[in-house]
Amino acid sequence: MSKIVFQHPRSLKHAIFHYCPGCGHSIAHRIICEIIDEMGIRGKTIGVPPAGCAVLAYNYFDVDMIEAPHGRGPAMATGIKRALPDRMVFSYQGDGDLAAIGMAESFHAANRGENITVIFINNAVYGMTGGQMAPTTMLNQKTTTSPAGRKQALDGYPVKVCEIFSQIGGVTYLERCSVSSPAGVNKTKKAIRKAFQCQMDGLGFSMIEILSMCPTNWKMSSINSCKWIDEVMVKEFPPGVYKDNIAAMKSTMEDRP
């Protein structure tokens, strides 16, 4: 008897990714789809892709999807989830989408404890528009709009989303991972699965930040992009669990009459 150990996820359409070689989006897409398959939730999942490279996510995810205007994913996901509380609702957002133009929507969806999951792709750059400075761009990192490197005096500091969101009362689960190594991918998958389970159990807002490669706009090879995450980015954005209120939320739920 042969056993299938690896196959194309059912929830991932048979389409060729438009993402650049070495981009982290395709890895993130795939592992989300694997989790959707494993949890058997394809039929009840609704995804909200952002403006940015992942705007075309509906070409790849074989689940119901609706595109949100730039930054508004968490507001739209809120609307969907409140209307259909038993569905699995996730928004998929980049760093500009989440931490610049959509900071208010993200912050307040988190603060309300909306029972949704945010997949936050942090690649320290605006990808689709051609590599401009993002809120998470590293100090001294060169981009098309910080040609001399990001300067604190002019551009402020990289926004540490997990650190900030860990202080928000409505957040139940918060983890930062990376898809720059096989171990990182496995961890990311576990984290997303935990977040989805948190939502399934009705425990409230979860967000997984994924440090993700953008070789094209970083002007690096794929391998060097992975190295840059592992050696440079993680110093500013250390991976780890930033908040885990799952057990506490569970016991609160059990206390309810």
Binding site: R42, G43, K44, T45, I46, V48, V55, L56, Y58, F61, D62, V63, D64, M65, I66, E67, A68, P69, R72, A75, M76, A77, T78, G79, I80, R82, A83, L84, R87, M88, A104, E105, F107, H108, R112
Partner: protein, 347 residues
């Protein structure tokens, strides 16, 4: 009931089960009404959002699931909703946006105004789209048109705006709520999870210009059907009128008061009142020019609907204008004086 409360009650009776809004004067009573009464509506959701931008996107998300949705605000807040309105038009999501207009531009003031006509009827947001704009002028009409707005939004899968002003929102009038029509919104347009079937997506982004062009023409054809079938207006004492005032909403109420005085003084003045501002009742207004040659456009603005009246009547009749912008509300007596001067000069 106050106008703001009438809109809220009519919406709930029409089956609205999702409302999101952000406080702004002079529409707060509507948000508060929804907070209180959505609790008792089965499946009702009320969210006080962090901004008008969030509110419009929340209703867009809920609308996609097939729920009847509404948001409300006042002029500066409606600015912030334009991104979402454009997006809802592109994604063909039904939804109701209430604008209880106040003085502008900028923060302006909280007095009644009609300065948002251009914004409402010209799209407001970016791109080649239109928004159905309903302009009630009485408490009863606030109720009726609010309920109709939900049917229109469903029928054409498009956002519908109810355009009133601070006066309409705050005034108290008796009202009888009509029975809501049963809803027929096809499930194929609802995003509720794919189940065992094929997944769907809703989007406004069409990167291929040919696809995008076709989408724009598709929307355009829809708008043409709306123009043909949904244009609403009211005529008052126009049959023998030698002069007709063109006004909507609160301005039309003031015009009625003025006309009463003018008629008492023997002046044959009538009222043409668009009830839909988009589509504008252009052909009906033009038809009136066969019997009346002088028209006075009266708005609580410096002249915005005036441009639509010109498109309808330029070359057919003489067009005059009287306006009070920025939150100033003229009395019927003031308007009657303006009309009388023009009326007598005409002779």
């Amino acid at each position: 009931m106050s106008g703001n409360n009438i809109i809220g009650e009519a919406a709930i009776r029409a089956g609205c089960r999702f409302y999101a809004g952000y406080p702004i004067t002079p529409q707060n009573e509507l948000t508060e009404y929804m907070a209180e009464h959505m609790r008792n509506a089965e499946g009702g959701v009320f969210i006080q959002s962090e901004s008008e931008i969030a509110a419009i996107n929340m209703i867009a998300g809920a609308s996609a699931t097939g729920v009847r949705v509404m948001t409300s605000s006042s002029s500066p807040g409606i600015d912030l909703k334009q991104e979402g309105i454009s997006s809802m038009a592109a994604c063909e999501l039904p939804g109701i946006i209430v604008n209880i207009m106040r003085g502008g531009p900028g923060l302006g003031n909280i007095r009644p105004s009609q300065g948002d006509y251009f914004q409402a009827t010209r799209g407001g947001g970016h791109g080649d789209y239109r928004t159905i704009v309903l302009a009630p002028a009485t408490g009863q009409e606030l109720a009726d048109l609010t309920m109709d707005a939900f049917d229109l939004a469903d029928k054409y899968r498009t956002p519908v705006m109810i355009l009133a002003d601070g006066m309409m929102g705050q005034m108290m009038e008796p009202v009888i709520f009509k029975k809501a029509k049963p809803r027929h919104y096809p499930e194929k347009f609802m995003l509720r999870g794919a189940g065992e079937g094929k997944s769907k997506f809703i989007r406004g982004l069409l990167l291929d210009p040919i696809d995008s062009e076709e989408h724009n023409w598709k929307l355009f054809r829809k708008y043409e059907a709306i123009i043909e079938k949904e244009t609403l207006f009211e005529e008052h004492l126009t049959q023998d009128a030698e002069m007709v005032i063109v006004a909507y909403g609160t301005a039309a109420r003031i015009a009625r008061g003025a006309i009463k005085r003018l008629r008492e003084q023997g002046m044959k003045v009538g009222l043409f009142r668009p009830r839909t501002l988009w589509p504008f009742p252009e052909l009906k207004l033009r038809a009136l020019s066969s019997t009346t040659k002088t028209f006075l456009v009266f708005e609580m603005s410096t002249g915005q609907m005036l441009e639509d009246v010109r498109l309808a009547l330029q070359g057919y009749a003489d067009i005059k204008f009287h306006g009070r912008p920025g939150g100033a509300v003229p009395t019927p007596a003031e308007l009657a004086n303006v009309v009388a001067k023009i009326y007598h000069k005409k002779d």
